[in-house]
């Protein structure tokens, strides 16, 4: 222990200690075997310690001693502080070589010591694997998560032992303070901080230099410097990381501040009580600083005295607010007060005070040491410095990311964070904690700087980034934050105390299904009032989550209010079970699953069939949104709802079971439906059930639309489809094939009282590249149609399919079955962005079809009018577009060609709506028909439209739902009633669903695998690939259902 009296003393410690730490910066693993010193760095932050790092550290010491390693080489086992990689902890780095081991348990230590320390070999299984690329990245410097950051606040975290002041000094610690103290004037220090552009990192972003200047010039000869370490924002833990990983930088920053401001002899660090380790670490650092003469009286004999005391918080979020914090330090209730007077003039104990955030304080030493220009230079787009962000929530790489201020938000969330895991779709990122707002995908390119974020209705805040995906409800999030601020409100002022609970009441009403559109207006008004009239920052910003979610996700609020639907299936007050709620037709999934479990298959079938007419079809091809919300999926695998539906349908078909809905009465009105696809036929069934005369006009020679001419036989056998179509015909629906309709007026003239346009989207988009008008280039929709209709189709041997959706995968697999010996798919984005259903992508690759990503066609090569090849260009990903995916752009000069004799374009479809405008029916984007999304009414009275013709290519189940919605609207229209947003449809039979048994312990059990045709056998025929469950398998799978509908009983 050396007391420091001069800069020289500091230099000597650095000279002595730095070489001992050099090994930590040696990233060359090749040198490991000859190393004279090995450092084993064990992270002991809160996260890693919670995961057992304390045991790991002990185990290392034990094992090293036991192995007698010390005889050969010097081994240091050192505690390091939080590196912001907590999700992968316990983290252990071994140098030289900078190798990182993640999720290290006590039981792993012996192997690491034996293999790595003794034999110099890497323990492969514990190395970090990049979750996006799936490639191992053994060294810290190779890890993308770190590589893409710019760490200046956190740069010593993970490098030094936070319990050693000398290690801090070895890396130039306290040098800045001594430089300021001995060779600078206080005004110069303030000037330097001002010039650097440093802004308060606690959230408000007030220029730090300016604040210091104000305190410096305030009247009084007793002033204070205070550190805000309350970090109350849930989801923010970067301050914790600094306190646990590099506490001395905070002490040094406050020393410099105290010196710069003048007349400061005492400082306080307010640290929340929920951070016991941080308090302990900082406490120890303070003690050390005192011992080394850097805190206390007459520091370095200059007459400057300063000491630091820790004040532990007591669990009040409002004490993160400046005036509340200062009052709390005085031992009182943490009620904020009005400003002015500002703490700069009248703060702690009514004396001039500067309060700064931990992160602000901790960058000050480097600014003084390296200069304002250095700090200004780090930062993008005119901003200075970096900001630490905590990436939490639905995010693949969870941890702390430090980036230059002004970095695009998408870069932080997707390139560093890796986006949501498990292939879920990003929805929004919440920034600024309970005072902040949400940023949706449309604004993901926004630079993260104070002004840009504020203009979007959010705030920078302390830097917590809560990433949310398709399973998060924005209305629920607003409610969550209001519950928080309501609890934490100090109660002093009326707008906050009474306004927040009132807003919460309205939100509860909405999430319980009783909300009205007027409520939304009142909510907004209240929010604006609370925001403008509250006394302190807590109340002023509490409405932000509400205002921000209404602004960016209004449709979601409207869905809760008008449709009584929570798209994320979170607001339990609106539904019985998430699967049923998510299903566009509301199938009673828990019901039929329960029946299957008990072997009551006929009831299962009837329960499904009464709700919609295509169980067999959907059981095979539905994209199953229900499974995405299945709660079982949070345990192991979602229940195989689709396979179960198929089982029930197939069982019924096998038994010759016929289901005929009852027809209620007879009505004289006739309705014309254009298009015999799933939308048209579903509408036809419902109208026929109510006794209307229905005629369905179909241009093709078969009924079923895309079900018949799009989806290939090996996915949906025609036989199964035709059976379900016949059942609809048996109700008296007249299906006229080979009849194309182009004249809407004529339909009315013929006596039809209402028309439903369910045209689908059967026109394929063209690539629009030179050379595409030759033999061998097909439009995918036409190709599939011709194959399905049994027409002559010339498929070559080497087939190239352009596109990434289901039409593309269908085309590729069909081409194989038509005799191609090689099929390749070319997609312009990355494979993970392909819109095709996951199972199809897997199937494609199983059948030997190769998917080439990031490539697009530029020219078709041909000879004598026939395709000989394709010229393509490589793509790279640029900025995010509105769909949440990065826009691909061509890499100039990267053209290349491949040989092929057939090209199938599957890059998009649109409806054939050229004729409709003439009849007063408006067309919208993508040539789709404009119709009200809830009533499906078009501009022309009596004409309704739904399905792909309105939405563009979408799913079968949505088309069926649209058909039912159209039927409901048409009935109202014909009966002279007002059209409404709800679908009127009554189930004809009631069923008594079996009650769930009380399950004591639910054990993890994977989904029952469904039998499939062996990949080798598939391509030779159009035989159905998926072979369905046996009864045993179905019952076993059905018993995995958690019966979420049972819990709803208590609501």
């Amino acid at each position: 222990m050396n007391k420091i009296n001069t800069l020289q003393d500091l230099e000597e410690i650095k000279k002595r200690v730095r070489p001992l730490l050099a090994v930590r910066e040696d990233t060359n693993f090749a040198r490991f075997k000859e190393a004279r010193q090995i450092d084993v760095l064990v992270c002991r932050g809160t996260g890693c310690t919670a995961a057992g790092a304390d045991e790991v550290e002990d185990a290392f010491r034990e094992a090293i001693k036991r192995r007698g390693l010390e005889k050969r080489v010097r081994v240091n086992v050192t505690k390091i502080g939080c590196r912001g990689f907590c999700e992968k902890g316990p983290n252990v780095t071994i140098t030289p070589g900078d190798i990182l081991y993640t999720r290290v348990r006590r039981a792993d230590v012996d192997e690491i010591v034996e293999k790595h320390l003794v034999r110099g070999e890497i323990v492969e299984r514990l190395v970090y694997v990049d979750p996006i690329s799936n490639k191992p990245a053994p060294a810290n410097k190779d890890i993308e998560f770190y590589k893409r950051q710019r760490r200046i606040v956190l740069f010593l975290n993970g490098l030094i032992d936070p319990w050693s002041i000398e290690e801090y000094i070895a890396f130039d610690g306290y040098r800045a303070f001594i430089k300021a103290l001995t060779s600078m004037k206080p005004d110069d220090v303030v000037e330097e901080v001002l010039k650097s552009g440093l802004r308060g990192r606690g959230g408000a972003g007030f220029p730090t230099g300016r604040k210091w200047g104000m305190v410096r010039s305030a009247q009084g000869n007793e002033k204070f410097v205070v550190c805000n370490g309350d970090e109350g924002d849930p989801g923010a833990f970067m301050n914790r990381s600094v306190l646990e990983g590099n506490p001395h930088t905070l002490i040094e920053g406050m020393l410099i501040g105290a010196f710069a401001i003048g007349n400061v002899r005492q400082g306080y660090a307010y640290v929340r009580a929920e951070y016991p380790l941080a308090i302990e670490t900082l406490n120890h650092a303070i003690k050390q600083a005192r011992e080394y003469g850097l805190l206390g009286q007459n520091i370095l004999g200059t007459g400057f005295s300063f000491d630091l005391d820790i004040f532990p918080g007591a669990g009040a979020f409002v004490c993160g607010e400046e005036t509340a914090l200062l009052i709390s330090i005085e031992g009182k209730r943490g009620n904020p007060r009005q400003r002015p007077p500002f703490p700069a003039n009248k703060g702690l104990f009514d004396k001039p005070t500067t309060l700064n955030n931990v992160e602000t304080w901790s960058i000050v030493p480097q600014i003084v040491l390296k200069g304002a220009d250095w700090y200004k230079g780090v930062g993008v787009g005119g901003n200075a410095g970096t900001k630490t962000f905590c990436l939490v929530g639905k995010i693949t790489n969870s941890g702390i990311a430090e980036v230059p201020v002004g970095t695009p938000l998408g870069h932080v969330v997707f390139d560093i964070g890796g986006g949501p895991p498990q292939g879920k779709t990003f929805k929004s990122v919440q920034i600024g904690g309970p005072s902040g707002g949400v940023i949706p995908i449309e604004h993901i390119n926004t630079p993260v700087d104070y002004e840009s974020v504020t203009s979007l209705g959010a705030i920078m805040g302390s830097g917590g980034l809560i990433v949310m995906d398709e399973d998060s409800c924005m209305v629920d999030m607003a409610k969550f934050f209001l519950q928080f601020t309501k609890d934490e409100s100090c109660g002093k002022c009326l707008p906050c105390r009474a306004g927040i609970p009132k807003m919460l009441e309205i939100l509860n009403k909405i999430t319980q299904g009783h909300g009205t559109m007027e409520d939304l207006d009142v909510l907004q008004e209240l929010a604006e009032m609370v925001g403008s009239a509250s006394l302190c920052g807590l109340g002023q910003t509490a409405p932000n989550p509400v205002l921000s979610t209404i602004r960016h996700f209004r449709a979601e609020y409207e869905s809760h209010i008008i449709d009584k639907k929570c798209p994320a299936a979170v607001c339990a007050g609106l539904f019985r079970a998430p699967c049923q709620h998510t299903c566009p037709v509301g199938l009673d999934v828990p019901g039929y699953t329960a029946f299957i479990k008990e072997g009551r298959f006929d009831e299962a079938y009837r329960l499904i069939r009464q709700r919609m007419p295509f169980p067999s079809v959907c059981g095979r091809v539905c994209n199953h949104p229900c499974e995405g919300k299945c709660r079982r999926g949070q345990m192991d695998d979602p229940v195989a709802i689709r396979h179960l539906k198929r089982f029930a349908a197939d069982w019924a078909a096998e038994k010759g079971f016929e289901y005929t809905p009852k027809v209620n009465g007879k009505r004289n009105e006739s309705v014309a439906i254009v298009g015999a696809g799933p939308a048209g036929l579903s509408a036809a069934q419902d109208l026929a059930m109510d006794g209307y005369q229905v005629t369905v006009f179909e241009a093709l020679p078969v009924a079923g639309g895309m079900l018949a001419v799009g989806i290939p036989e090996y996915r949906l056998p025609n036989e199964m489809l035709n059976a379900e179509v016949s059942a609809i015909e048996k109700l008296g629906v007249d299906i006229r094939l080979n009849t194309r309709i182009h004249d809407v007026d004529a339909l009315f003239a013929q006596g039809y009282k209402a028309v439903f346009l369910a045209l689908g989207a059967h026109l394929g988009e063209r690539m629009r590249v030179p050379g595409e008008d030759v033999k061998g280039v097909y439009d995918a929709v036409e190709f599939l149609r011709n194959v399905n209709l049994g027409r002559e189709v010339e498929t070559g041997k080497k087939v190239a399919v352009i596109g990434g959706g289901n039409t593309a995968t269908d085309s590729a697999r069909v081409a194989l079955r038509m005799g191609a010996s090689q099929v390749d798919m070319f997609y312009r984005r990355e494979k993970k962005d392909m819109p095709a259903i996951e199972e199809e992508i897997v199937a494609v690759e199983e059948e030997g079809i190769h998917i080439h990503e990031l490539t697009a066609p530029t020219r078709v090569l041909s000879q004598e009018g026939k395709v000989t090849g394709l010229e393509l260009i490589r793509m790279e990903l640029g900025e995010f577009d509105k769909s949440g995916r990065k826009t691909p752009r061509q890499i100039k000069g990267s053209e290349y060609s491949v040989a092929c004799d057939t090209v199938i374009q599957a890059i998009g479809q649109r409806p054939d709506t050229g004729f409709t405008e003439k009849y007063g029916i408006k067309i919208g984007m993508g040539r789709t028909i404009s119709a009200d999304r809830r009533t499906l009414a078009t501009d022309r009275p009596g004409v309704f439209a739904g399905g792909d013709a309105v939405t563009g290519p979408w799913t079968v189940i949505e088309a069926i739902a649209a058909g039912q919605r159209a039927a409901s609207s048409i009935k109202r229209y014909l009966q002279g009633q007002e059209l409404g947003p709800r679908v009127d449809r009554e189930d004809q039979e009631t069923f008594l669903i079996p009650r769930p048994e009380d399950v004591e312990d639910v054990k993890e059990r994977s989904r029952v695998t469904i039998s499939e045709l062996h990949p080798g056998k598939r391509a030779s025929s159009f035989k159905e690939v998926n072979m369905g469950y046996t009864a045993q398998e179905a019952m076993s799978e059905a018993s995995r259902c958690l019966r979420c509908d049972a819990e709803a009983g208590g609501e």
């Binding site: 809160t46 996260g47 310690t49 919670a50 995961a51 990689f85 907590c86 999700e87 902890g89 970090e231 924002d233 849930p234 989801g235 923010a236 833990f237 914790r240 306080y268 009580a273 929920e274 951070y275 016991p276 308090i279 302990e280 005391d309 004040f311 532990p312 007591a314 669990g315 009040a316 979020f317 709390s328 330090i329 005085e330 031992g331 009182k332 209730r333 943490g334 905590c390 990436l391 939490v392 929530g393 639905k394 969870s398 941890g399 919440q430 904690g433 917590g464 809560i466 949310m468 999030m477 969550f480 934050f481 928080f484 934490e488 100090c490 949070q634 345990m635 312990d1001 639910v1002 819990e1047």
Partner: protein
Amino acid sequence: MQKVEQSVDLELPVNKDSAEYAARILRDVNEIVDLNTGRSGRLIRVLQQSQQRVGYLPPEVLTAISQVMKVPISEVNGVVSFYNFFTTVPRGKHVLQVCLGTACYVRGGQRILDVLKKEYHLEPGDTTPDGILSLDTVRCLGACALAPVVTLNGQVHRRVKPTGVKELVSRCK
């Protein structure tokens, strides 16, 4: 939650009505108050350290603090009722805290509470009738990357599944 630098003996007494008990409380409170001489915000620090020792803040301790520090009992109660950390009711033998910070909430923290309500009829703030287990919510422990987080007697458990919390509870005897 916060470590007291020197341990002060403030054992649970046998007979709360005895003069001996009152005297002991007074003596111990005096020690804690002296320990914190000259430090800012002494009242809060004294309350924290007293609660650390006893496990909660019974009325006799609050009265003693008021007496020794010459602070009106209303002010003492005002501070106790303001800060979440202070509790005037005894806690159970084991304390389970479920974090309801945003990250933990987004990753299923609420469902953990739902399971506890359904299986054990426990809501935040409750203690089981046999005094074995208390349930609390806490707003963010700073271990967000490990969400959802639950602590049992201060020990942090990470990535807790609703089924896993039942196992934790069964350990509490």
